[in-house]
């Protein structure tokens, strides 16, 4: 017998069952899939040939990001009256089969453009062809998830996995409206005559976050300078309600112009049939960086199990140094997780310093203090180190400075909280990434004897970073938890191809070899039966260049103390964080 609330749920599910997309959309999608499948057949598949090629080093193609920025930046206006205008623009964009965009880049003091880039967007087949700087030819094929990068200097074409999701020009309109709504970016709108046509001009500015602890630096660099502000100017033709010109000015933290990009977009009937039509020679050497299918499947399984982990819990995580066989706790974290919201209060060992800070905030920290004490009873030994709050979009961080908690600039983090070792999920499921993704699975004695799936990522030396290797052993019997994780940067790395790399580094004393191995030694299960690590050992060492080696041995213990609990009032509210001094 179902109760009233369950009946409402059944009605909601039945209502979901009544949802129908237009027949035209169904036919369009089926046809698109059919075309993609047919193009995959042997003899016609570029990818199949490519997959058998050798694997070497990959260069960055950061310039491609520009197209994504442009696509995002081409549309906006937050006020309700603009919705109709944008809806009209979106509908018109949906009808286009191809769009050609030419972008000219100018630097201050230069009259001529320093670069000219051309993009051809094949809307129906989800492909973008591009020529950068007149010579680098790219194909981003979102349907096949492949990214080809042709380099004329070496006459080779690197092919890698394209991870980004396709955003159609119309989809970008919707995403941008939402972005403006959630971030409250102000848009100025005006109407004017341009080249004899009535146009609507929209202008707005976006400000980027400073990276934490890195001074006035953001994660976007242009001409070697950090970009703090992007000023956009968009022109919509009132005759056809399509996007015409766009201009983006990139400014540094002092508001000085770094670069101006001017784009002009036009609908075209058709574009390049393939990348060779744009000038890639037929005898090009193809370098495949495409991972095996199996790697993708395992990574998806890992992500899928991680996403199913408890969506609300409270945990205490302690980290202890091993001293003469005894655990000596030196850090304790109290974690409150509710959906995307995450609050972590971090406490540290004081090493005989008096704790002048925690008593100042005893009320605001009460929720974590009371939960940490049972697991770190020597209360006089520890004090607050930091409070981190992620509200699903913004990251707030308070840290101890001058005997007070001081707030860093809040950071916008649409992709998740900024810390990799904050919550239970971080310790349980590992995603390998370092400039690239794992390309193959492998077996060794450890994986065979424990029934694990192993994958690795081993980039070469770069700048001041030693040859690096990350290895994850996932346990398919225990929800794909990472049972062993190895992170190493070695002077004498077997996978480093150029064995004389160290001779090319000037300040060798800045280099440090390090190796860490994390092993799960005890497991727990949630009430629903999902596995998680309860205890992890961490062993390894650090070896600064020319100095002696320092061994590290630690134990991390995860105490899941409540599942789907009632949370302390205000624990996820930025307004209820301890009152702080600004940094």
């Amino acid at each position: 017998m179902t109760d009233k609330r369950e009946q409402e749920i059944i009605i909601a599910l039945e209502r979901a069952g009544q949802f129908e997309l237009p027949q035209a959309a169904v036919e369009r999608d089926l046809e698109r899939v059919r075309r993609a499948l047919v193009s995959e057949r042997p003899g016609r598949s570029l990818w199949r040939t490519i997959a058998q090629s050798r694997w070497t080093k990959l260069t960055s193609a950061a310039a491609v990001i520009v197209i994504a920025v442009m696509a995002f930046s081409l549309f906006m206006q937050p006020e309700p009256a603009a919705a109709k205008l944008l809806a009209q623009v979106a509908r018109n964009m949906e009808k286009l089969a191809w769009v050609k965009t030419t972008t000219q880049t100018y630097t201050p003091g230069e009259e001529k453009p320093v670069a000219i880039d051309i993009h051809w967007t094949d809307v129906r087949n989800k492909r973008v062809f591009a020529i950068y700087d007149g010579k680098y030819i790219h194909l981003m094929d979102y349907a096949q998830r492949r990214w080809c990068i042709y380099r004329p200097e070496t006459n080779d074409m690197v092919v890698k996995l394209l991870d980004d999701l396709w955003i159609s020009p119309a989809g970008a309109v919707h995403e941008y409206i939402l972005k403006l709504k959630t971030e409250g970016i102000e848009v100025a709108r005006s109407e004017e005559m341009r080249e004899g046509r009535n146009v609507i001009v929209l202008q707005f500015a976006e400000s980027l976050n400073y990276l934490q602890g890195a001074g006035p630096t953001t994660n976007m660099l242009m001409n070697g300078k950090p970009v703090k502000t992007m000023r956009h100017r968009i022109v919509i033709d009132k005759q056809d309600y399509l996007l015409g010109a766009a201009e983006i000015t990139y400014l540094d933290p002092n508001d000085a112009t770094i670069v101006v990009q001017k784009s002009r977009s036009e609908p075209i009937q058709t574009g390049p049939a393939d990348i060779y039509e744009l000038g890639v020679p037929k005898d090009v050497t193809i370098i495949s960086k495409v991972p095996e299918d199996r790697v993708g499947q395992v990574r998806e399984s890992i992500a899928s199990h991680a996403s199913r982990f408890l969506d609300a819990y409270i945990a205490v995580i302690t980290q202890a140094q091993m001293e003469n066989g005894q655990e000596r706790v030196d850090q304790g974290m109290v974690v409150f997780r509710r959906g995307k919201e995450l609050r972590v209060d971090v406490y540290r060992r004081l090493y005989n310093h008096p704790d002048n800070v925690t008593p100042l905030y005893r009320n605001e920290l009460d929720a974590s203090l009371t939960r940490l004490k049972p697991y770190w009873p020597e209360e006089e030994q520890w004090g607050i180190q930091a409070v981190r709050l992620y509200d699903g979009l913004w990251q707030y961080v308070l840290e101890v400075k001058d005997d007070k908690l001081a707030a860093r600039d809040k950071q916008r983090r649409p992709d998740g909280d900024a810390y990799a070792d904050d919550d239970v999920d971080d310790f349980a499921w590992r995603t390998l990434w370092w400039l690239n993704e794992p390309e193959h699975l492998f077996e060794d004695d450890y994986s065979r004897s424990h029934g694990l799936i192993a994958m690795e990522l081993a980039p070469q030396w770069q700048g001041y970073r030693l040859p690096k290797r990350q290895v994850a052993y996932a346990d398919p019997q225990k929800d794909y938890i990472c049972r062993r994780y190895i992170d190493e940067e070695l002077f004498d790395a077997p996978w480093q191809e150029d064995k004389n790399w160290l001779d090319k580094v000037k300040d060798k004393e800045n280099l440090t070899e390090r190796r860490t191995v994390r092993d799960v030694i005890e497991y727990g299960r949630t009430a629903a039966g999902q596995w998680y690590p309860k205890a992890i050992t961490e062993t390894g060492y650090e070896l600064p260049y020319g100095r002696s080696r320092k061994d590290v041995s630690r134990v991390i213990r995860i105490h899941l103390i409540a599942e789907r609990p009632e949370f302390p009032e205000g624990v996820f509210e930025p307004g209820k964080l301890p009152k702080t001094a600004d940094r």
Binding site: E14, L178, R308, E569
Partner: protein, 178 residues
């Protein structure tokens, strides 16, 4: 031509519309359905599981449901109201009741995405696809009485998850109002 490719093309011809409808109903988004449909068949064309599957449609159905629920779990932004803004041709009326109902559907689907796989299958087949228990039992190779009981337990679980979320929202609303 590869046998696998043939198999996938046949699957597309015979069941493509049903799979498209399933994706549409679980995502309620034309863009997402289009993307996931491509993704689904791309995966199927490379999947060893399909090759070995006794019932390719059942295999594809599960893969489609997985993709849609995965999309729901990962989705960070709700596009519902904006899609309505963009639909100028539709009646301009936007009664509160419709919004509330739509939100309820989204919430229940999101909760369903967090159920176990078997429970997800039964809930979708029973209430969204309106299949009788006997048919579901045949498709899943399980006993109908067991599935009936599982369905009932899953409804209770869905109610708890939806109510938990309502409680969170209420808490937040109160505190923001202060």
């Amino acid at each position: 031509m590869g046998q696998q490719q043939d198999k996938v093309l046949t699957l597309l011809d015979r069941h493509g519309r049903r799979l498209h409808r399933l994706l549409g109903r679980l995502t309620r988004s034309e863009d997402a359905t289009s993307d996931l449909m491509q993704e689904l068949f791309l995966r199927l064309s490379r999947s060893k599981g399909l090759e070995q599957a006794r019932d390719p449609y059942a295999y594809a159905w599960r893969a489609a449901a997985n993709l849609a629920f995965e999309w729901r779990r990962r989705r960070k932004i709700k596009l519902g109201p904006l899609e309505e803004d963009a639909c100028e041709d539709e009646p301009q009326e936007r009664p509160l009741g419709r919004l509330v109902r739509d939100e309820e559907v989204q919430r229940v689907l999101e909760a369903t995405s967090r159920l176990d796989e078997l429970a997800q299958d039964v809930i979708v087949m029973r209430f969204i696809e309106q299949e009788p228990y006997e048919e579901i039992a045949a498709r899943l190779g399980r006993d109908a009485a067991y599935l009936r009981s599982l369905c009932s337990k899953s409804l209770v679980r869905l109610r708890q998850m939806c109510d938990d979320r309502d409680a969170d929202r209420t808490d937040k609303g109160v505190s923001y109002d202060r």
